[in-house]
């Protein structure tokens, strides 16, 4: 049910959020009226009739106190469970969601579709297909807010955040920056256009020649910035092998997951985490590569096969421990050889990216 003074319900979860909202509005109305009516009744009935009136004290009723503590608590818990279950839905994207890349900067939204088409302050989406936004900021914190989808997520510099939704209704909806970001915050707005799938396909095709698929751009950048000089699968490589989603042992003994945040940090602040066995020789690319380009490079790195073994098994340079069922672990496992450079271990969970 859609209440007056609420935006269009244009995503799969919007009606569910509105139902919870309706429940809360009803509770608010009930309790406010209850208190109001009691005050009015008492005020009329027990108004002071002469100046020196002094009524008898009320007896304290412990049961009354307990009941008006326990009943609100139970009601609060119903809201808590409903709100929490729905929230987990709001932030658990389906596995088949299409990925779209969003970069916020003062004061615009830069968006790229995986097939390559770019847009600014506009987001085109097909009806009926779940999409997942991978977002970051070039400067301050922004927040990507689409009221018609009841969806919002902060866009934070230095990390990737995500949100997803499934548009259900074609139309044009507001896109707002919701986190105050400086002078023209109120102009950091745009439109989300939800289209029928066939219109969307046509729209995607209508792109500039330079709008290459994201991984393709990433591969070009990888070469252009000479990443491939050091990051090769060769055992004598100067840089560690790039293996997305694996665990990396650092020089100080810690193990970290090679996720997008780690890869991004390794590009802009390479000295922050040094892989065990390698020297901190990588220069920083901060200021030389834009956030979009970093996203493209990471997408390219994700396509790399972590086991593209040019590594002779006898060399301990790249011992790979596998816990991943997609690869035969017996082949490359080398028991007893640890602390070699570039030790990687396949991640057992792919979920750790969201909501960090």
């Amino acid at each position: 049910m859609r209440l007056p003074f609420s935006p269009e319900q244009a995503s799969s979860l919007a009606p569910e959020v509105d139902n919870l909202y309706l429940y809360l509005v009803a509770l608010t109305f009930f309790f406010t009226s209850l208190i109001f009516i009691l005050i009015v009744i008492f005020s009329v009935k027990y108004r002071r009739r002469h100046e020196d009136e002094e009524p008898a004290p009320n007896h304290l009723s412990v049961w009354l106190e307990i009941s008006w503590s326990v009943i609100p608590f139970i009601i609060a818990m119903t809201i808590f469970f409903w709100g929490t279950v729905l929230f987990f839905k709001q932030f658990s994207p389906p596995a088949n969601a299409d990925e779209i890349f969003v970069v916020g900067k003062q004061w615009m939204w830069k968006i790229q579709h995986p097939e390559g088409r770019r847009e600014i302050n506009e987001l085109h989406l097909p009806v009926g297909r779940a999409v997942r936004l991978k977002m970051t900021s070039e400067d301050v914190i922004h927040s990507f807010y689409i009221p018609a989808f009841r969806a919002k997520m902060d866009v934070v510099p230095g990390r990737y955040t995500e949100q997803w939704f499934l548009p259900t209704k074609a139309g044009r909806y507001h896109l707002f920056c919701a986190e105050y970001c400086g002078t023209n915050h109120s102009r950091m707005t745009g439109w989300v256009t939800v289209m029928e799938p066939e219109d969307y396909e046509k729209w995607l095709e209508n792109k500039q020649a330079s709008d290459l698929p994201v991984e393709t751009s990433g591969a070009q950048l990888f070469k252009k910035h000479r990443c491939d000089t050091c990051h090769t699968p060769s055992p004598t490589a100067l840089g560690p092998r790039l293996a997305y989603g694996t665990h990396v042992t650092l020089a100080d003994g810690r193990k970290v997951l090679a996720d997008e945040k780690f890869l991004r940090e390794s590009i802009v602040l390479p000295a922050a985490k040094i892989t065990a066995g390698y020297s901190p020789i990588m220069p920083t690319y901060q200021g030389q590569i834009s956030e979009e380009e970093i996203m493209q490079i990471i997408q390219y790195i994700k396509t790399m096969d972590p086991n593209a073994a040019e590594t002779p098994p006898s060399v301990p340079a790249a011992v790979i421990k596998l816990g991943n069922d997609t690869v035969d672990s017996a082949q490359t496992q080398q028991p007893g050889m640890d602390a070699g450079p570039g030790i990687v271990e396949a991640a057992s969970d792919g979920t750790s990216l969201s909501q960090q």
């Binding site: 003074f5 002071r48 009524p55 412990v62 709100g83 729905l86 807010y145 023209n184």
Partner: protein, 539 residues
């Protein structure tokens, strides 16, 4: 006044030095009253300008830069220089020692010092306003505040930092006073609920304020000295700031609302001539709010990339903290039952408080429910919610308290009809200003927007009309309070027929409150007790 009449704290001496160097808690309360009133009207002027600009969707009167500075200064002035000190430093300072039968606070010099610290902090902030102001929002979110903003962040932050020490000094003074200065026979459960509320508030001030001080120093270190703490470009974490900021600033909401709840407990008892219903439950709920309030900061950060599981815990505790507030509202309402209710001005404010706080509290549940918060976070829904708590709650309580104790503080009565009228104007103006903002928020209007989409205009026009009514409602008390100082009738020691130690001494009180330490202390709300006996507890 004849020479034979005993001197009171106001006329005991009249030199400027006798005020500026006074160690009397009552005179320090008056110094605070004057200074917080000045800041209230500075903050209010910014609000008027904001509402004027938002009459139409495009920018009409101000540049975005100016608009952003105005809402920032409105927030900073109102939160740090009005709401936080208002009830504790004015009413608390004046009443706390009297209510527990003491001649002064434990540390009179620290008390005076706190006012000077407050004034110095205020001077920094006023200087920052004159030098162009700040545009970070009162929340100072990094890395905008620490790296990107070109406004007077450092100066303002220093102002807030310095003023924090005045809170700490007041809190310390109150805690020690309550522990050590109670008159013989003034047991913990004979303390008025206002004292309990002050005690709970003081604990938050003592424990929370150092955290905001450290946080501000860290912003300063990054901005002025280039230490990488919050800016990711320097290897920092911008979200860390939000954790630190809200660790103080959420409890700070309770610094603003708990004292008001204390005031309301006093007013409801006095104007229904009833022992407050569930005294121990109200006292305990103040303490529960003070403690739980420190554990809910993450509910400001559900969509800040905080872990979902952390969000779940913060959401749960936020629902818990609603319960003690509900208990208070039910107990206040039950106190009216079989009472002798009179509708003098303070009681009208108390009724207004209960209504607005109920709505403010219940809309807090919307924001604690994570799924709804995702949609309404950083919209006008949040703006409406916290104004229902801070203006509808805290300021209604403050005005109610001022009207209740004004005759005690000055010895004068203000005009009853006019003050009732202005209470009505405040209530109507408030609802007209802030209720439409709930609707605009759910429709999706983000907060801190200088320009907005045309579909929000009707609601914004209503809000701006309400604000002008509200402004009138705030100017009237200023006028008739000042009028009453010269022309008001003498109040006598107890114009309301209320109980409590403060009503047993003269109005205005003598410099040392009590000529002799009060004895035979009874329950602070023993209405009807002498006539009908002590009420029993029903199981």
């Amino acid at each position: 006044m004849s020479d034979a009449a005993p001197k009171n704290y106001l006329n005991v001496s009249s030199t400027v030095a006798s005020w500026l160097l006074t160690l009397d808690h009552k005179r320090i309360a008056i110094l605070y009253l004057i200074s917080v009133t000045i800041f209230f009207f500075i903050g209010g002027a910014f609000a008027v300008a904001i509402r004027l600009e938002l009459l139409t969707p495009p920018g009409d009167f101000f540049l975005s830069e100016t608009y952003n500075r105005m809402f920032t200064m409105h927030g900073i002035v109102m939160v740090f220089f009005f709401l936080i000190p208002s009830i504790p430093a004015v009413l608390g300072n004046f009443l706390l020692p009297i209510m527990i039968g003491a001649k002064d606070l434990a540390f009179p010099r620290i008390n005076l010092g706190s006012w000077y610290v407050y004034v110095i902090g205020g001077a920094f902030t006023v200087t920052a306003i004159v030098m162009g102001g700040v545009d970070t929002g009162w929340t100072f979110y990094t890395p905008y505040s620490s790296t990107y903003s070109n406004s007077a962040v450092t100066l303002t932050a220093l102002g807030v930092f310095i003023t924090g020490f005045s809170s700490i000094m007041t809190g310390l003074n109150f805690v020690v006073t309550v522990h050590k200065m109670r008159a013989p026979g003034m047991t913990w459960f004979r303390m008025p609920l206002f004292v309990w509320a002050m005690y709970a508030t003081s604990l938050i001030m003592l424990l929370g304020t150092p955290v905001i001080a450290i946080t501000i120093l860290l912003v300063f270190a990054e901005r002025a000295l280039g230490f990488g703490i919050f800016d990711p470009a320097l290897g920092g974490d911008p979200v860390l700031f939000q954790h630190l900021f809200w660790f103080y600033s959420h409890p700070a909401v309770y610094i603003m609302i708990l004292p008001s709840m204390g005031v309301i407990s006093e007013i409801i008892a006095a104007f229904s001539r009833k022992k407050i219903f569930g005294y121990k439950f109200i006292a305990a709920s103040s303490m529960a709010i003070a403690i739980l309030g420190f554990l809910v900061w993450g509910h400001h950060m559900f969509v800040t990339s905080q872990s979902m599981y952390a969000g779940m815990v913060f959401s749960f505790i936020s629902f818990l903290v609603a319960i003690p507030s509900a208990i208070k509202v039910f107990n206040w309402t039950a106190t009216l039952y079989k009472g002798s209710i009179s509708f003098q001005t303070p009681m009208l404010y108390a009724f207004g408080f209960i209504g607005l706080f109920t709505i403010g509290g219940l809309t807090g549940l919307f924001l604690s429910a994570m799924a709804i918060d995702v949609h309404v976070h950083d919209t006008y829904f949040v703006v409406a919610h916290f104004h229902y708590i801070m203006v509808g709650g805290a300021i209604m309580g403050y005005l109610g308290g001022l009207h209740y104790w004004w005759p005690k503080m000055t010895g004068k009565l203000y005009p009853e009809g006019l003050s009732k009228l202005s209470a009505g104007i405040v209530f109507i103006g408030f609802n007209l200003t802030f209720f439409p903002q709930f609707l605009a928020g759910y429709m999706g209007m983000p907060r801190r927007y200088h320009m907005y989409s045309p579909e929000f205009q009707v609601l914004n026009v209503m809000s701006s009309c309400g604000a002008s009514i509200l402004a009138l409602g705030y100017l009237l008390p200023l006028a008739y309070f000042l009028w009453s100082l010269k022309f008001g009738r003498d109040a006598g020691p107890n114009p309301w027929g209320a109980r409590g130690l403060e009503w047993e001494i003269s109005s205005p009180p003598s410099p040392h409150n009590f000529d002799e330490t009060p004895t035979g202390i009874e329950d602070p709300y023993n209405y009807g007790v002498h006539k009908y006996g002590v009420p029993k507890e029903h199981k």
